[in-house]
Amino acid sequence: MSHPRTLTFAFMEPPFESERTITFFRLLDAALDRDVGVRVFAYEGAVALTFARQQPHGNAVHGRDSAEEAHPLTKDWVQALQEKARARTVGFEWINCGLCVDERGVNDVIEGCGRGGPPDLWRYATDARNTLTIGTR
């Protein structure tokens, strides 16, 4: 373990499908509260969490236009966590499984998020203090 104050998270859920996604992001936020470096390996549907072309929309049923609706986007959450990590001077790394990205066509990702594969998960896990995996149903 070369990074005793770093935690690794592997996650499989896509955006806008599962309550797990909310808990996952809350866990990352809680880790940063503890001034812990965070490393994420996004697998399968989770690679769409950082897709740069996510767009907010209005909601006629809610009676709100796009600005009023202020629809949550997971790419914005990732950016918010990146900023929080910078402010607390801890690391925040994010690797998307490259094959999972290709098959979904979500190659256009926000800045600060990279592309890799399972060897990166193993490297993240062996370097970190601990690892939590959250699969999908």
């Binding site: 935690l7 797990r20 808990t23 809350r26 866990l27 809680a30 503890r34 812990v36 601990n130 939590l132």
Partner: protein, 108 residues
């Protein structure tokens, strides 16, 4: 003795697997390990007083420490007073603390 924290997102009303998950938690507890459970998402639903969930209640009977995520409770309008006895409130920071303590943190 190892430290285990199970993050319990599945609930016994929809997932029959939880019965075996609770049994495993109980076995590890009986084996003398430091085992605790954090209920999250619909995993908090058996914590409500009056919820009929024998397999979950056995965990409480065995004395396994059980916490419930305040955000998940708030979503479901479950107050502290609505909880069964011996269930504590917690934020997700307990997960981070367990990971930093080299605990085995396992998502259910």
């Amino acid at each position: 003795m190892s430290q285990y924290l199970f993050i319990q997102s599945q609930d016994p009303f929809t997932e029959s697997r939880t019965r075996h998950q609770f049994d495993l938690i109980g076995q590890l507890h009986e084996a003398g390990h430091d085992v605790s459970v954090l209920l999250v998402q619909n995993g908090v639903t058996p914590a409500r007083r009056g919820a009929r969930t024998g397999s979950f209640d056995r965990l409480l009977d065995w004395g396994v420490p059980v916490l419930a995520d305040t955000f998940s409770l708030e979503q479901r309008e479950i107050d502290d007073a609505d909880l069964k006895d011996n269930i504590g409130l917690s934020s997700l920071h307990v997960v981070i603390d367990a990971m930093l303590a080299n605990g085995k943190v396992i998502w259910h």
